[in-house]
Amino acid sequence: MEGLASAGQMAAMQAAAPDRPKIVARDINVYYGEKQALQHVDLDVIAHSVTALIGPSGCGKSTFLRCLNRMNDVIEGCRVVGDIRMDGQDIYDPKLDVVQLRARVGMVFQKPNPFPKSIYDNVAYGPRIHGLTRGKAEADAVVEGSLRRAGLWEEVKDRLSEAGTGLSGGQQQRLCIARAIAVSPEVILMDEPCSALDPIATARIEELIDELRANYTIVIVTHSMQQAARVSQKTAFFHLGILVETGDTEQIFTNPRDERTQGYITGRFG
């Protein structure tokens, strides 16, 4: 069973190649029953960058995102064909422990979904089940660290035992981010994380994404092109299940190569 690569090895690899791809996806085809949702998608996700997946509704960007942490496995009738490698390891290898993969590749969902437990337990649950913390002191440290990095500590430090569901929408989403960070993932996947939030909460989370970039690789699905332009370094444009164009964010938004990309970003469709 393949396990975590040691921290030392990873640090060495990062130091050697700053633009190294963290995740390499080749010829990805996804089928929901008979219907094909993604066709021949090739994409590289660069380490320590924010990659935005944009496109009109139903184009397959969330489907592709879910391939990266194998959440499509729990969907009935969903079949993923192709090759996805993280740090050179095939994540669809039958010998790979998918539970551990999901600890290394965290996910934040569109609608904030904290557990109906206390704020403390929300953040401490993940490290506890993966054996990352032993004893209360270590758990306290991890909880505080995660909440600080998610920018939520100051607001909740006096009410850690209150229910996580009692927070506002923006705070709940930051709690979900803290929960994802607590298990020390390498990649964080975000599926339209701000679509259920007001503009001020959205701005805070976008700031947060920028800060997180230093320690994590982030892939974000967004239907807001302005958000993609603000937050990401690389952008991939999907349309009807096909990856149309991918490149540096600035290039995509100022000088797209494909006319479908041009049509989408100028608002002619989608």
Partner: protein, 435 residues
Amino acid sequence: MASIADEPGKASAARERYWGSAANQRNIRRRHWADRRLQLYGIAAIGIAIVLLGVLVVSLVATGHTAFVQTEIRFEVTVAESDIDVADPFKGNYRKVVRDGFARLVDRELSRPEEKALFEMLSAGAQYILRDHVVDDPDLIGRTFEVALPLADPMDQFHKGEIPRDIPQEQRRVSDLQIQFYDQFLAEGRIAAPFNWGLFFNADSRFPELAGLAGALVGSFYALLICFLISFPVGIAAAIYLEEFAPKNRWSDLIEININNLAAVPSVVFGLLGLAVFIQFFGLPRSAPLVGGMVLSLMTLPTIIIATRAALKAVPPSIRQAALGIGASKHQVVMHHVLPLAMPGILTGTIIGLAQALGETAPLLLIGMNAFITSVPGGITEAATALPTQIFIWADSPERGFVARTSAAILVLIGFLVLMNAIAVFLRQRFERRW
């Protein structure tokens, strides 16, 4: 009405004319009536249900309320050491002690038939009640003290007004002489009708004035306990497996259909199954709460499985996704997240299933829990009755006292059912708030 093609001014003027017209007023009135009719249908339906329930409860209370009090008579007895052996108080001649004390209440000398009539007024179990008194407190031997003992069923019914005075003596169960004695004792203030604790604490008896539900309550409790211990873990485990882990293919469809069908099987069939398999094949004791509990658990199992599956399905998928997303295994998702959230629904379904099991009569009759048992069962393998079967037995008995007691027992059973359902509702509300 003007069409949209006309000038906009004309169209809106025509529209305004319509809203104020008589035709529209009629429309509005019809609509209000339809609303009111719907409300009235609902109120009528609820009213009918309440009336039917009220008729049931009122008729039960009317026939049964007399069973909640028991007529007693107070008099002095002398426990002489010549009658009761200090070394073995259990074996004394309490019959003589009671009769001597009772006879002293009448000043004059009585002939044999008159004596017989007098002693028939007192319950045949009075001597055993005195015996238990003395055995509990041996210091009473050699002393004279006052005691309150129950009257026999005919006198009990007479005191409660069930037997009229003005019909001829041959048509009455109490004779004129007995009524004379009764009037004398009543004038002396010796007769009272306090609350009938014996209804709850005595075991069954062939004398209605002494009969109680203690044996049935304990038998029902043991049977329900066994039922819960078997069906709760098995039902929840089966439901979790079927809902979360079983592959969705034709086999699991088949199992689901069969479980739903089991819930619809008539309960008497389970009784036959219990008789054939548990008692005859496995040789378990007849009439035991153990077998009763096992048969009831067969009936409660489908209810718990169906309720648990519904509760598990009701947990929002966002919780499962969140747990899967941070790397919880399927097993951890179910045990740490889904099951605790589904627990209120599971508990409610379980309590409702147990309340149904409490009232089941047919299967218990078939495994023999309608035997006449005059002691409280000491364990789950001793012969016992259950509350519904005890009602069945008493309903068959001709004494007037048992008629009242049958209704009283039904009220006790309904009381327990209401209590259990109230607990289910309370638990459901309490847990809903926390979530």
